[in-house]
Symmetry: C2
DNA sequence: TGTTAAATCAATCAGGTTGATTTAATTTGT
DNA sequence: ACAAATTAAATCAACCTGATTGATTTAACA
């Protein structure tokens, strides 16, 4: 968004189906998504708009196929409420996750349902493989939609690790094979390839957007999102808005300074999954297991337990940093880890917090992310929806 | 601000002189303040508004006495530009700084000039002394304005340390004498006493608002503000807006976790002025000197040098935390310290940064605050102006 | 006298508002 | 048990604010 967006312009043209929404339309869509469904009267109340305006806006959203009239709620005195909910087939987003060990492409509907996914694994990513995969996967995915629905695809979101060419060795890639990514402009290349608007975010930021839109059960309006993947990452939401930062890197808690004993390093070397992989390999187990087994890790519990407490120490540190600087509602921890491990990680982090000096800080709420392992893929697809509707 | 303010309402009534401004009026006032003066054509350009709208809004601001037509700029081809600047006597704010060793009351005009100040020192603050001072000082200050101008006072801003009853010993106050502040509601008490709208902020947040409005020469739109006072504090600005946080405590870097060697503590015990006071006392000098001598510290340079490098280590740490979490434009360091010390502190912090592992982070810009020692007082007075006009 | 850029005029429009009215249910009274 | 009263949601109609665009005026330099 450029400078102009800070100002309060009426929309430039009569908004058609393809136009981006006015601020109030977006606010209302966001509210409906958060509460699943809302009658006009409550919308007016919650937004502070007049009942009349709520009527007019909902009428337009309904005509545009974005919301749908639901069954009236009788039982109370007065005319029954007619709730409106999102029309799941009202718009679609496609997401492309560029990972260090796999590509993912996901078709997401307006309600956040995954309509289809494709996945491709490899030892390390190359640019040409990405473009081939993108083209092929796109053509497969859109088969899930009829011609009308295909026209409702709002764009392609891309989730990509920050500086994918860095940390090559830690990620298990040959040292110089990733250099080509430095020169690659994914936005231009993919817009050209697929003729769709393309939105780029770093992987953790995309995951954060998914949690904000489809998770966040406590409804924090400001929170730090922590994603424990091969490398630690995160995102930041303030007042229900994803914070971008100067270079699009806000929330990157991996770069926080962290002192382990006396050695000065970064938090990424304290709380990342590659450390567990190493630990398992060193103990004579198969470290790859943690990437391949999404829902349960049946491996050396001793290594996992060690890793959990080290990781938790790091996350507790990050939590205190964030609370101190930002005075947040809470912190959400998620990752590419099984549910029981995630649960244990939150518990370990909470107890690690108790050893910290938290004077002057508000009570900290730490909770589990709902979206989980697929957060990056779903988040990438959500970028296009977010850009248009929320 | 409550929930409603997030929505996009037209102003509720025909705005009179007393009403708060519409978003575009505020934006334009902010622009004019930042650039000192602007002709209508440039305002239209910078805001993205049409020339016509710029004309209409400026006409209203001029009628309300907030801006003033300046001398036309000839010399270029075409009709000469007529720049508009803030009318310094168009509005006033009063600020009350509640400190641990003194009270300050300041009368500030729309341009940020201090029209008058009163100061009162003590060993430790009491509630009744505050109220007495507030009443008396207010009556003295308004003598500087004629009757018409007195009606342009837009409110009282109060800058107060967070939990003033804490840290009593470190601040040199008797242990239990500050307990009464826990029960004290400054907003209600002062609104009642002076019949003015009252705005409360913690001291560092108020200082930050002063730097944002009247300093910030690099025009960072997002920055961390660090204020080195008796106790370390700070404030945060994102997209030209002071960030508040859930409990109004965002930017409180004093509570960042800091490990000095192996002992875990908070940054406030690494980078605060009371540490220099102690250091001086321990070395047989007069520690109070640093609070009493605003423009030059003529005392043990060895102690100062030691304190500078320790403090800088802490500030470098805070800088990395902030950059990592928020990906800022820069960091501004200020404090209740002489200019040469401030300068040295920035230099020490910059060189301390070089010892840190900054991989993955954008280039960091660290600069000196312009407003300085009076930032808290000026900032407090600015709160009322900010609330109405920016 | 022509050219240029700033500023204003005039007409219009988008997106809100309020107050009166309609609608469809429950509750009450006889 | 049924009609009337009550209640709350939703809509209608008129209007207002704050923006827009396109044509015109103004005041300087060339």
């Amino acid at each position: 968004m450029n400078k102009e967006s800070a100002f309060h312009l009426p929309s430039q043209k009569a908004p058609t189906l393809l136009d981006s929404r006015s601020a109030n339309e977006r606010d209302i869509l966001t509210l409906i998504r958060q509460r699943s469904s809302l009658p006009k009267a409550e919308i007016a109340q919650l937004t502070g708009l007049s009942a009349q305006s709520a009527t007019v806006i909902i009428k337009k959203l309904e005509a545009d196929g974005l919301v749908r009239r639901l069954k009236p709620i009788k039982g109370g005195v007065g005319q029954p409420k007619v709730p409106f909910g999102l029309n799941e087939s009202g718009a679609f987003g496609i997401g492309l996750k560029v990972g260090r060990r796999s590509f993912d492409m996901t078709l997401l509907d307006l309600k956040g349902n995954v309509r289809a996914t494709l996945h491709e694994k490899f030892a390390y990513p190359t640019v040409s493989n990405l473009l081939t995969f993108a083209k092929r996967a796109f053509n497969v995915l859109i088969k899930n939609l009829d011609a009308d629905q295909q026209r409702l695809i709002r764009g392609l979101g891309v989730a990509m690790p920050f500086e994918i060419w860095s940390w090559a060795e830690e990620a298990g890639a040959p040292k110089n094979e990733l250099e080509e990514w430095r020169e690659f402009n994914p936005q231009a290349a993919l817009e050209d390839l697929l003729s769709l608007p393309v939105f780029i975010k770093n992987d953790a930021g995309a995951a954060c957007s998914a949690e904000m839109s489809f998770g966040n059960p406590q409804n924090y309006s400001s929170f730090l999102y922590i994603f424990v993947g091969t490398f630690l990452g995160g995102g930041l939401v303030l007042n229900n808005q994803l914070v971008n930062g100067k270079t699009g890197n806000a929330g990157a808690i991996g770069s926080l300074p962290f002192y382990n004993g006396s050695t000065q390093s970064q938090l990424i070397t304290q709380s990342s999954l590659y450390l567990l992989e190493r630990k398992l390999n060193d103990a004579g187990h198969n470290g790859q297991h943690i990437y391949e087994s999404p829902s349960h890790w049946s491996c050396d519990t001793r290594s996992i337990e060690d890793w959990l407490s080290e990781t938790a120490r790091g996350l507790a540190f990050a939590t205190q940093c964030a609370m101190s600087l930002l005075d947040l509602d809470g912190v959400i921890i998620d990752g590419a880890i099984p549910d029981d491990v995630k649960n244990a990680l939150v518990a370990h982090t909470q107890s690690a917090m108790e050893t910290l000096d938290m004077r002057g800080l508000a009570q900290v709420h730490i909770s589990e992310g709902l979206v989980g392992r697929k957060a990056q893929s779903i988040g990438s697809a959500n970028l296009a929806l977010q850009a248009n509707y929320y």
